[in-house]
């Protein structure tokens, strides 16, 4: 098996240049590559285009890179919960492209799967359709959407092996599997990195072919946005 292990986030991200297009996994703050984001923050590279479902919060996730103005453009489906984001958007410092969430997921999937365009019903008759080709199939109108690809994809998994096979946990899977397939270079950070042969091949979510670099992350904070508790305890 091919060994793709690198020491840490610094080594994994060392050749990401200014102006790179990055895919960053996660939904809200769930399943985000915390170590890679911290390494990019530390590197200080700028002019980044970030493709990610959300833009983090003011002091965590992609929000950290917005604060330092390292991001030129965000491609997302939902960008609430972030005051600095709002300020930069309104002042024109930050470019934003909003995409329906299912279209975003499919554009990334298509990018990884070698499908340059596809038709979806989402967004027909809305601002999203402006300037895009539509076609009628079996009496219903669909919108043509292009694939998305990235220079670097940064994904987070629960477990991985040194050849890049990945297993996700809970709803931290979200955009990570598709993004892993759509990066020219895909960097995976995992909570537990094991030797080849230790993961059950039946349970692999992302086959190692999609992953170029892998490391075991440290100090996962896994911040919760909405801590909701059942009242059954109080009763």
């Amino acid at each position: 098996m091919i060994d793709k292990q690198v020491a840490n986030a610094q080594e994994a991200t060392k050749d990401i240049p200014n102006g790179a297009t990055l895919m960053i996994g996660g939904f809200g703050l769930c399943g985000i590559p915390e170590n890679c984001i911290a390494a990019i923050l530390q590197k200080g590279i700028t002019g980044l285009t970030c493709i990610s479902n959300n833009a983090g919060v003011d002091d965590f996730g992609i929000g950290l890179l917005l604060k330092t103005k390292q991001v030129k453009k965000m491609i997302s489906s939902y960008v609430g919960e972030n005051a600095e984001f709002e300020r930069q958007l309104l002042s024109g410092e930050l470019e934003v492209e909003l995409i329906p969430q299912g279209t975003l997921a499919e554009r990334v999937r298509a990018g990884g799967a070698g499908i340059p365009a596809f038709f979806t019903p989402a967004g027909v008759g809305t601002e999203v359709a402006e300037g895009k080709e539509t076609r009628v199939f079996d009496g219903k109108t669909y919108l043509m959407e292009r694939w998305l690809r990235a220079d670097f994809s940064l994904v987070k998994a629960w477990k991985g092996d040194t050849s890049g096979n990945l297993i996700y946990k809970g709803t931290a899977r979200n955009f990570n599997p598709m993004m892993a397939t759509a990066g020219t270079i895909t960097i995976a950070e995992v909570e537990e990195l094991v030797e080849v042969g230790e993961l059950d091949p039946n349970q692999i979510h992302t086959p190692g072919i999609f992953v170029h670099r892998i490391f075991q992350g440290v100090n996962y904070e896994k911040r919760i946005e909405q801590r909701t508790i059942s009242n059954s305890v109080i009763r």
Binding site: F27, G28, L29, C30, G31, N53, S76, S77, Y78, V79, G80, E86, L89, L90, L98, P100, Q101, G102, T103, L104, A105, E106, V108, R109, T120, P121, A122, G123, V124, G125, T126, E127, V128, W158, Y168, K169, G170, T171, A172, R173, N174, F175, N176, P177, M178, H205, K222, R223, I224, E225, Q226, R227, T228, I229, S230, S232, V233
Partner: protein, 219 residues
């Protein structure tokens, strides 16, 4: 007039045994509390879960398990986890039987506007455009009028559209209305204490009233 809980309770009456259901953020999320426990339904969370359970107890909070509103949740026995691409595959593929979501405006031909107010901060459409474009059945939970009394059930939406010809039913604070395939809001039920006249005055779009309109029954 119905409060948020009343709207949620009335929408829960539309749920049928065996349904797969996607609940939007806000009032739609509350609907889950009023689905009879005798009914077997599965709640879909578009971030990758079928089988949303109740909020966790303090000791069971798992940051790797959230719903689309980013709230910590649990999973029901028999749940399944999947990617966002698979999630929207099942949504676009028409596998989700019922979608319940909020709206700022609905037009008499079933167009919905719920993602953007020009001039205000735009947070994005999230999964709403995908859901409304493909759902088998869409029920909207909304206030009948804005705070200054302007109708939100219109001839034509004034806000940017989320999807065309998709809303099938509306449960507002004043009434239950079916959106007819041929156009128009057909009045089905009145909210407690609300007259047909009040609903007429609050509805700008074409309102269709046939026969006696009964007051809704809430448990």
């Amino acid at each position: 007039m119905l409060d948020k809980i009343g709207i949620a309770k009335r929408i829960a009456q539309e749920v049928r045994n065996g349904m797969y259901i996607n609940l939007g953020i806000g009032i739609p999320t509350l609907v889950a509390n009023y689905i009879p426990t005798s009914m077997n339904v599965v709640l879909q969370s578009e971030n990758g879960l079928l089988g949303i359970g109740p909020f966790p107890t303090e000791g069971k909070v798992d940051p790797d398990l959230i719903n689309a509103g980013k709230q910590t949740i649990t999973m029901m026995p028999g749940s399944a986890l999947f990617s966002s691409a698979d999630s929207f595959g099942m949504i676009r593929g028409g596998k989700v039987n019922l979608t319940i979501l909020g709206a700022m405006e609905v037009s008499e031909n079933g167009d919905i506007a719920n993602w953007k107010v020009p001039g205000k901060m735009v947070k994005g459409m999230g999964g709403a455009m995908d859901l409304v474009a493909s759902a088998q059945n869409i029920i909207v939970a909304m206030q009948h009028c804005s705070k200054d009394g302007a109708s939100k059930l219109l001839k034509k939406c004034s806000l940017p559209i989320t999807g065309l010809n998709c809303v099938k039913k509306i449960v507002s604070d004043l009434a239950v209305l079916d959106v007819l395939p041929t156009g128009g809001f057909k009045l089905v039920e009145r909210a407690p204490g609300i007259s047909v006249e009040q609903i007429k005055n609050a509805t700008e779009g074409k309102l269709i009233i046939e026969g006696e309109i009964l007051e809704m029954k809430l448990a």
